[in-house]
């Protein structure tokens, strides 16, 4: 097994876990969103790694080139990036409104305020 050849996938796993940990462990909502972004980005890397064909050139039609990388995962990830941006903007908009309503973006403080009601 060529461990170095799989370096992309190791990066994916590390990023995924870092993002996931941030989402779970941080009480600050903005940091949660950042964690969520890192988590999603790791999946983008995973898809792009899938598209690589060994010895393949960029998927642009060029005379004399026979082997191309697979462009489909890149296109899929463009869509997924758009989805990710939409999610992030919605999350940030919610955080702004949460800050207006509660005066804080700390999950623990928000929880305490809800308990008091």
């Amino acid at each position: 097994m060529n461990w170095l050849g799989l370096v992309n996938y190791w990066v994916v796993i590390v990023l995924m876990m870092v993002g996931f940990y941030l989402v779970i462990a941080r009480a600050n909502l903005v940091r949660k969103v950042i964690g969520l972004n890192i988590f999603q980005t790791s999946v983008f890397l995973l898809f792009i790694s899938i598209g690589k064909v060994r010895g393949g050139s960029a998927p642009i039609l060029t005379p004399g080139v026979e082997v191309y990388s697979n462009p489909l995962p890149h296109v899929l990830i463009l869509t997924a990036i758009v989805v990710g941006v939409a999610t992030t903007s919605l999350a940030l908009a919610l955080i702004v409104r949460i800050h207006e309503a509660y005066g804080t973006v700390d999950e623990d403080v928000i929880h305490e305020q809800d308990e008091e009601q």
């Binding site: 949660k32 919605l90 999350a91 409104r97 949460i98």
Partner: protein, 491 residues
Amino acid sequence: MISAHLPILQVAVPLILAPLCSLFRSPRIAWSIALAASAWSLVCALLLLATVLDDGPLLYAVGGWEPPWGIALNIDVLAAFVLVLVGLVAVVVATWARRSVESEIDARQASLFYTAYLLCLTGLLGIVATGDAFNLFVFLEISSLSSYAMIAMGRDRRALTASFQYLVMGTIGATFILIGVGLLYMMTGTLNMADLAARLPAIAGTTTVRAAFAFLTVGISLKIALMPLHLWLPNAYAFAPSMASAFLAATATKVALYVLLRFFFTVFGFEFSFSTMNLDLVLLPFSLLAIVSASLVAIFQNNVKRILAYSSVAQIGYMTLGVSLTNVSGLTATVVHLFNHALMKGALFLALGCVAYRLGSVDIRHLGGLGKSMPWTMAAFVAGGLSLIGVPLTAGFVSKWYLIAGALERGWWPVAVLVLLTSLLAVVYVWRVVETAYFKRATGAAPAEAPASLLLPTLALAGANLYFGIETSLSVGVAARVANTLLGGTP
């Protein structure tokens, strides 16, 4: 001419009308557009169901690009059945919505609320219609993102945190689904579900396919809100605007359950999902946990919307329990309950929306005397509640009947006993509401009965619970056919 393009038109029309809806400032015009789009999707769904029942599955290539290059829409009996369900709920809820949205949502935001609703409808219809695994993820995110927006428009500030929590968990779930789809693409080189199904058996033993299976299981379970991944659901349903609660409770988790059936039966195949990966033994403990613990928690809630939300988590347990029985009766129970539960939760949340419209509260301590002051609303609530319990002659009885038959067929009689016992828990939490409404004195001034525009759709849906409890040939007939097809038998 148009009828050949129904599979895409039923998705495209709400999608095109959504931005149009946001252009109007008048809530009334926006509402009319939302209602028209809902009615259109119901008509399309009914036509599709009729076609599919007679002529077999429909395959539609979007834009004329044949699969595997283009995106295929694949409408089989199960898909058409779920489309009809979503369309039906959409029409009833949209008809009901006008007065309720007027009272709960700022007039300047109402058209945006309807826009979010239309996008959510588009997403749900798209998930059901599509035959492409990646396209399914995109529609899933369309419906999820718009439902986060709808939930955040609730009046209580806790709606904001509920929506944020749902957003985080929903995004993790969707990303897990995306990873699963990516791994499948890596192994097969296709995203088309029919092609995936054809190519997967040859490589079923590889770790990558197993990992894809695991990621999809967790991701879809998050979307279904299967215990213990249900944490987003109770607050989201409790603090959302009444219309959003009713619509999402009746459709969103049902469509997620459809995704589960689609992936595990159509794409992975029964053999791999249940014999190799033992999905039935994975689902069984979580289903039972959901049924018992969510029912118990529901009993101790004071916010009636939260009672219903926890009851939803329990009912989802019944549906996944049906899947884990892996026989025709169990799967029939799942599909029938998918339909019936949408009817009962729709009716209950609409009735509760009427109460919220008059009282401004859905706290159980404020409901005293409503049996006298709002008799029709409470009658609808009781009908929905009886159906939820599974009393004979209501829709809920039919699904429980098949579920128990399935459990006995599998030889799991303790499960059958448990289903009966947990129905008693449903009696307790429904009775708490009924007792307060009919036998306790009013705390304040008696409210008037809900206006007809709210009352009629509520009563229609409550009536549907009784109708489909007696006339079962449509729901059970279609469900049995679907169950047979999914399990590989002849329809």
